[in-house]
C-alpha cells in the first residue's frame, strides 16, 4: 500500500513540476503578434467567403432587375412632360401639382437627402402624369373592341373614309347644280 501511494505521489509531483521549455512566453507573444497581423480567420473560411460572393451577386442582380423594370413610357425630361400635360394647364402655364403632399417631402430623413437631390436634378426622369381626357377616350375605344371604332383609329382607313365623304359631297352638289341649270332653262 505504501509503495502504491509513493508511486502515485511521485507521479503527481512529476506532473506538478513540469516546466515549459525556455522562451515559451516569447514564442507565444510572437505568435499572437503574427495572428493579429493576419486578416480575421472567419473571413478566410470557405463558407463565409461563399456567402459574401452570393450576397454580392444578389445585390448586383437586384440592381439589374430594378433598372430593367423601370417604366419605359416615363417622359425623359421636362419637355416631354409638356406633351402629356392637359392643354388647359399648358395654356395658362399652371404649375404641375406635386404627386405627394409637401409635408411628406420635408419629413424625409437625412439619409434620404442624396436620393431626393438626385430626383430634383434637371435630367432626372419625371414621374408619369395622369392621362388626358383624350387619352382616356382613346383607351375606352380600344378596350371596347368595337371593329368600327377601332377602324377609325387607323389613319389610312380614316383618310379613305374622308375622301369618300368629300367625293359624295361634291357629287351631290354637282347633281343639284345640273338640276337647277336645267330648270332655269
Amino acid at each position: 500500500m505504501k509503495e502504491a501511494d509513493e508511486t502515485i505521489d511521485r507521479l503527481m509531483a512529476g506532473l506538478r513540476d513540469a516546466e515549459p521549455s525556455p522562451g515559451m512566453e516569447r514564442r507565444i507573444l510572437e505568435a499572437m503578434e503574427a495572428h493579429h497581423a493576419r486578416p480575421s480567420a472567419w473571413l478566410l473560411r470557405p463558407s463565409v467567403a461563399a456567402s459574401l460572393v452570393c450576397a454580392a451577386a444578389l445585390a448586383a442582380s437586384l440592381i439589374v432587375v430594378t433598372r430593367v423594370n423601370q417604366p419605359s413610357h416615363t417622359p425623359a425630361n421636362a419637355a416631354d412632360v409638356g406633351q402629356h400635360t392637359p392643354p388647359a394647364a399648358v395654356a395658362h402655364n399652371a404649375p404641375i401639382e406635386p404627386r405627394r403632399p409637401a409635408a411628406r417631402v420635408t419629413a424625409r430623413r437625412p439619409r434620404d437627402l442624396p436620393a431626393l437631390r438626385d430626383a430634383q436634378a434637371g435630367g432626372f426622369p419625371a414621374p408619369p402624369l395622369p392621362l388626358t381626357e383624350q387619352e382616356r377616350m382613346l383607351l375606352r375605344v380600344a378596350h371596347r373592341n368595337d371593329a368600327k371604332n377601332k377602324a377609325l383609329l387607323n389613319p389610312d382607313l380614316r383618310a379613305a373614309q374622308s375622301a369618300k365623304n368629300t367625293e359624295q359631297f361634291q357629287h351631290f352638289f354637282e347633281i343639284n347644280a345640273e338640276e337647277m341649270r336645267s330648270q332655269s332653262e
Partner: protein, 180 residues
C-alpha cells in the same frame, strides 16, 4: 518586445501581462492531460490566441484565472482525443525515473510510472479530471470546481475516490505481478 497590436485595441486587460502571469500554470494544466511538453506549449499558445480574439471583452471575465484554465483544459482534452492513447506516456515515464539509480532499476521505475499512468487513464472521467487538476496543487478546490462545473464537495469526494481506486488497482497489479 513591442506589442503594437495591443495598443490600437486599448483593452482593459493586457494580453501580454496574462501571458507572463499564467503561461506556466496553463502549460502544467495542458501537460497533465497530454504529458508532452511540445503539445502542451501548443495548447498554451492556442489559449492566448483565443484571448487575443476576445481581447475587447476580457474586462467582462469575472475570474480570469479560472477562465484561462478552463480554456486550456478543454483545448488539451480536445487535442488528446485526436491522438493515439498512451502515445507519449512512455517518454514522460522515462523522464520521471531517477537518473541517479542504475539503468535496470531506472527502467523498472519507468515501467511502474507507465503502468500508473495507464491506470489513471482507466479511472472514471470525473475522477481522473479531479485527480489531475488537484495534482498540480496550484488550484484551490473552489477553482477546480469552477473549471469542472461541479460543487466543492463533489470535487473532494471525487478526489478521495480517485486516490482509493488508483491505489487499489496498483496494489492488485502488484500482487498479480508477484504471483505471475
Amino acid at each position: 518586445m513591442a506589442l503594437s497590436f495591443m495598443e490600437d485595441a486599448r483593452p482593459a486587460v493586457d494580453p501580454a501581462e496574462l501571458v507572463e502571469a499564467y503561461s506556466t500554470l496553463l502549460f502544467r494544466i495542458a501537460h497533465s492531460v497530454l504529458r508532452s511538453r511540445t503539445e502542451a506549449e501548443d495548447v498554451v499558445q492556442d489559449v492566448f490566441i483565443r484571448v487575443l480574439e476576445h481581447r475587447l471583452t476580457l474586462s467582462t471575465v469575472r475570474d480570469m484565472r479560472v477562465w484561462l484554465v478552463r480554456i486550456a483544459w478543454n483545448l488539451a482534452l480536445d487535442r488528446k482525443r485526436r491522438r493515439r492513447p498512451e502515445q507519449l506516456d512512455e517518454n514522460f515515464a522515462k523522464s520521471l525515473a531517477s537518473g541517479t539509480i542504475p539503468a535496470d532499476a531506472a527502467m523498472e521505475e519507468a515501467q511502474r510510472f507507465e503502468a500508473t499512468l495507464r491506470e489513471v487513464e482507466r479511472l472514471p472521467k470525473a475522477e481522473r479530471h479531479v485527480l489531475l487538476l488537484c495534482a498540480l496543487e496550484e488550484l484551490s478546490t473552489v477553482e477546480i470546481a469552477g473549471v469542472l462545473g461541479r460543487s466543492e464537495s463533489a470535487v473532494r469526494g471525487l478526489l478521495s475516490r480517485a486516490r482509493a481506486r488508483l491505489r487499489e488497482r496498483l496494489e492488485g497489479r502488484t500482487h498479480f505481478d508477484e504471483r505471475g
